[in-house]
């Protein structure tokens, strides 16, 4: 890159020119910020202003730009220049909209703006234009693990989009659980009767698809690498192993029905005539549209009771606490197997809440029309009586205990995810000591474990409502019931979505850019190895398992797995990890650029490090609503609170700041951090800062960490003002020069 040439552009629009002395800001940019070119403009975001900047880039060789105007969240498309390092110094939302226009405040408001210009110049000086990861891979093949409905769908959809697919199935045939069904719940109108599963046709399509390479009787014995450059060992039961390279992975390992043997009180294992839903499918398949016979004596079933929520939605130890979502519709379907063969068969579904969302409601009505009986009740016991089973239950409508007799009882048990190893529950292999696990689905050679991290109840769903595919292992997407309990229709949609995400992952990897949520970011972390003390904090704390360790315990960053949050940078005690455009220095120099008035000025300085996704927008929106806060604060947006290195805080305090505030998102069980633990890590790191403060003879109140939501438009400014009051109470820092 050519020599650095800084251009600073001070906008006078939106009242900035009236409120601030912009000529002084230009001087600061030139003299203190070392901007080669500094200009004011009446209306920087109009065509004239933008053109002026473009001219300076083209003709003057400006390559580092400070736009001192509105927030970085405004006019993004306008101030979008290729191949330059860019800082958005926020004079509008950050200064004039949050401070009073009174004459007696003019000085401190001007000082605020001046500091922001200094900070902008300081940041941009330390920034480089990200050049994308040179070690990226461009393998575009897709690996799909699991040959059930989810895996087959992901495979065929990826192939239909033009990508080559490897489809790996553990058993000797495709189809998974879906192939064991006699029929499926209808997924389109008319929602009146069970329909063909379509599995045979799908298998045929897959077998005839030249873009899909099929591996039956095979499992994944090893996965290493990163998006665009995964290496996987595919092993057969007989012991042969093929090593293949792929760009991204779909994990569709499905579910196992809950073990009904754990429900002896419901008669399973005691009577052959108590089956689970999978068992009933087997009987129905055997009957092939004819009369279903009971297992014990082959007698035609004349009455059947379905027990919903068997071992699920339960607080009992060993049972499932969740609902599996599909079982109400499945029991309705199975009741129809009987009714459609012979309307005289008694079919009774005992449920607590019947859950048939969407047009499942039509299917429910169709069953009622066919004479399927629905009873709101809770089953306590199933006993083998004289020639018939006795289902004891509490009838919730009549509020009384009752008994239903039946030839056959079907237990609607739940889904248990085939999610492999719970990586948080087992000890990880030492570097160099990795060994394959029989339980694992993916056998990843990752520092943080062999499978995807689990969410709740053994499923590895995304934690995020808006982003169901926000995986914690970049380039690896789970879909189907391993992710969340779901029916076939949903699994097909889910698998199609996952197919898009793997395609996107290989395309992103090939360009060396980040996946969501920092989509398109070309920066990536690099480590100055000579300074590394092998402390392993980065490898442990990376939320995405992007950093492995070599045998000497040095970090090995897999750039294509990285999501650019900077947690590693925040974790590093010796500060050797940085991004080209975001580093200990880009923030540290901003902190140091602020002009600290002396101890007798009565002008405190409070540093706010604000999460760019929640706290910073909240402050922006406070400004849009002209909610004011102390002009003594200097706000720096950070990628994530997890990226905050404590050196920034100690530097700020030792250079005379009176207070430091960290604003990150909600932590804990319902955490909102899209980098998983950033806010939590920051809170943990800050809980240890008290000793540092005491060592510096400073009050502990001078550093505060807050959880701030994007909706805290009134609260975030209030927190700042409270901090300003606290500082007033305890007095200015003695550490000013």
């Amino acid at each position: 890159m050519a020599d650095m040439k800084i251009g600073a552009y001070i906008c006078k629009g939106c009242g900035i020119g009236e409120r601030l002395n912009t000529t002084q800001l230009v001087n600061i940019a030139t003299k203190e910020g070392k901007a080669a070119i500094a200009r004011e403009h009446e209306f920087l975001c109009n065509a004239g202003g933008v053109d002026m900047i473009k001219q300076d880039i083209e003709k003057e060789g400006v390559n580092h730009i400070v736009i001192a105007a509105c927030s970085r969240r405004a006019k993004v498309e306008t101030f979008n220049f290729e191949n330059v390092a860019l800082n958005r110094t926020n004079l509008r939302e950050g200064v004039i909209w949050v401070t009073p226009a009174d004459d007696d405040k003019k000085e401190i408001v001007q000082e605020m703006a001046a500091d922001y210009v200094r900070m902008g110049c300081a940041e941009v000086k330390k920034m480089e234009v990200p050049q994308a990861n040179p070690a990226h891979g461009n393998n575009r093949r897709i690996l799909v693990v699991g040959g059930g409905i989810s895996g087959m769908t992901a495979a065929i959809e990826a192939a239909n989009t033009g990508y080559d697919v490897l489809l790996v199935e553990k058993t000797g045939s495709l189809g998974g659980m879906a192939a064991k069904l006699a029929k499926r719940v209808p997924f389109r109108e008319p929602y009146s009767d069970p329909v063909d599963t379509g599995i045979a046709a799908l298998i045929e399509k897959i077998e005839g698809e030249k873009h899909i390479k099929l591996f039956l009787n095979s499992t994944i014995s090893k996965t290493s690498g990163a998006p665009g450059q995964f290496s996987v060992d595919i092993s057969t039961e007989s012991g042969t192993t093929a090593t293949e390279n792929v760009g991204a992975i779909v994990m569709a390992s499905g579910f196992t029905p809950y073990d009904a043997n754990k429900l002896p009180h419901l008669g399973f294992g005691k009577s052959k005539d108590v089956v689970d839903q999978a068992g009933l499918e087997l009987l129905a398949k055997g009957a092939n549209g004819g009369a279903i016979k009971r297992p014990s004596d082959g007698k035609e079933v004349k009455s059947v009771v379905f027990v919903q929520c068997a071992g699920q939605r339960s607080d009992k130890e060993g049972e499932l606490s969740y609902c599996s979502g599909h079982c109400c519709n499945t029991s309705i379907k199975q009741a129809m197997y009987f009714k459609n063969a012979n309307p005289d068969i008694d079919t009774n579904i005992i449920y607590t809440d019947l859950r048939t969302p969407g047009n499942g409601e039509d299917f429910y009505r169709s069953a009622q029309k066919k004479g399927v009986n629905f009873t709101k009740g809770v089953v306590s016991e199933v006993e083998a009586g004289n020639g018939a089973l006795e289902v004891k239950f509490n009838d919730k409508i009549l509020n009384e205990d009752a008994v239903a007799k039946a030839d056959l009882v079907v237990l609607a048990t739940g889904m248990v995810a085939n999610s492999g190893v719970d990586i948080d529950a087992v000890k990880q292999d030492e570097p160099g000591q990795w060994a394959q696990s029989k339980v694992s689905v993916l056998n990843m050679v990752y520092r943080q474990g062999k499978d995807l991290p689990l969410l709740k109840n053994g499923f590895n769903d995304s934690h995020f409502i808006c982003f169901p595919y926000e995986t914690r292992r970049t380039g690896i997407y789970s879909c189907g019931p391993v992710r969340r309990p779901m029916d076939m229709a949903q699994a097909i949609e889910d698998a199609t979505g996952a197919a898009l995400k793997v395609i996107q992952a290989v395309e992103n990897a090939a360009l060396g850019r980040a996946a969501h949520p920092r989509s398109g970011d070309l920066s990536f972390p690099s480590v100055r190895m000579e300074g590394c003390t092998q402390c392993k904090r980065c490898t442990v704390e990376c939320p995405f398992g992007a950093i492995d360790e070599d045998e000497k315990r040095y970090p090995v960053i897999n750039e294509s797995r990285c999501r650019r949050c900077g947690t590693c940078m925040g974790a590093c005690p010796v500060r050797v990890i940085s991004f080209e455009n975001y580093s200990v220095d880009t923030v540290g120099y901003q902190v140091k650029a602020v002009d600290i008035p002396d101890q007798f000025s009565e002008k405190p300085r409070i540093l706010v490090l604000a999460c760019e996704n929640d706290a910073y927008p909240a402050l922006d929106m406070a400004a849009m609503n002209r909610i004011q806060y102390s002009a003594f604060v200097r706000v720096i947006p950070v990628r994530c609170l997890g990226s905050v290195n404590t050196i920034w805080i100690s530097d700020a305090l030792s250079s005379g700041y009176d207070g430091v505030m960290l604003m990150g998102c909600q932590k804990g069980e319902n955490y909102q951090c899209h980098f998983v633990k950033g806010s939590e890590l920051a809170h943990a790191r800050m809980s240890k800062i008290d000793d540092t403060l005491k060592g510096m003879s400073l009050e502990v109140e001078r550093v505060q960490t807050h959880e701030v939501a994007i909706t805290d438009i009134q609260r975030a400014p209030a927190l700042i003002n409270q901090m300003a009051e606290t500082i007033q109470k305890i007095g200015l820092s003695p550490l000013k020069f």
Partner: protein
Amino acid sequence: MAVAVATNETILVVGGGISGMTAALEAAECGKDVVLVEKNPSVGGRVSQLYKYFPKLCHPTCGMEINLRRLRAQKRIRVLTLAEVQSISGKAGDYTAVVKLKARYVNDNCTACGECEKAVSAEIPNPYNYGLNKMKAAYLPFNMAYPQRYVLDPSIIGTPDADKALAACKYNAIDLGMKGEVINLKVGAIVWATGWRPYDAAKIQPYGYDRYKNVITSVEFERLMDPFGPTGGKLIRPSDGKEAKNVAFIQCAGSRDRNHLKHCSRICCMASLKQSTYVSEKFGDNARSTIYYIDIRAIDRFEDFYKKVQADPKVKFIKSKVANITEDQASGNPILHGVDTEGYHRYDNPHDLVVLAIGMEPNVDAGKIMPGVAADVSGFIDIHATTEAVFGAGCASNALDVNRSVQSATAASLRAIQVINRVSRAEA
């Protein structure tokens, strides 16, 4: 006005709610060109009007911020707001969409400085708050509106207010002569993500939405919690501004009902469970929520949330389809009448406020999109019957929650990409 260059390798996404934004962003991040058409002046859709999401009780605007950042940085997406698709013709890989663009009267010089808003005096009902309050006729639709650009309501054009707005703008951003126009877009595939609307509550006669002030819908209730909403974030009832501490939630208001919507709208149980936490959040031990339900459909892992709410002694569950509502004239309290089916007791329960967990119907009847696009009986797009390259996404295709809408939109986006890839292979 924005000129959208589109070709038969462009994907048209209709609707800028969370499904449409997702479909557009996912396709663009796979390297495809997209035109995103939104009828309102801002993208964001119905989720931007929610206070919190179930079950995490996090804020929808958090995810919207991420999506907006993706959108602002994404050169492959062109966003057309105040734009509605009038018709579509053609076939897969070669469609022409006729799009009607309404005048905004504000061009992209706008800096969102807000001076025009200060200058005008006329007020109009605020659609972002379901008309529960008014706003200036020069407005930014909401705090996070994108594009971050003001709008002049057509009702002030030709009035002195328009001239005042014009005079107040220092940036030549107001163009009172702006005209609506109709443009043709040539596109290869279409993702139809026009979302849902609440069922017309007034049609459920026994509940008296049109007669009783203190009967409101669940979507309106969300707006009461927003500190920038019509009540400044206070949970107060419309008739007299009294705090609504004793709130009834009526499930299946319009849904699972042959007279109204036959389908189950899926989200309403969870929405009411969530909203009961709002009441508890505001009033602590003084809060009283009563949920009148047929079945609580807290499907799959939402069960946890249901259990958490059940454990709150301030929330009561009554299994009953409420028969009708009357009003106590002196207090303004709505009184719910019906039979508790668990034990068959009659009840006549007064509450401060009634919230109808209103059903979901598709915004656009799928049968009217274009020939070949099939609708189910509720007007949702039947994604399995659609052979042409018009793909339903989100609540245009089914009654879905946010998470499932995003999944659906991601799937629809891939289906559109498949068509585009076929087109480009054929042309290569």
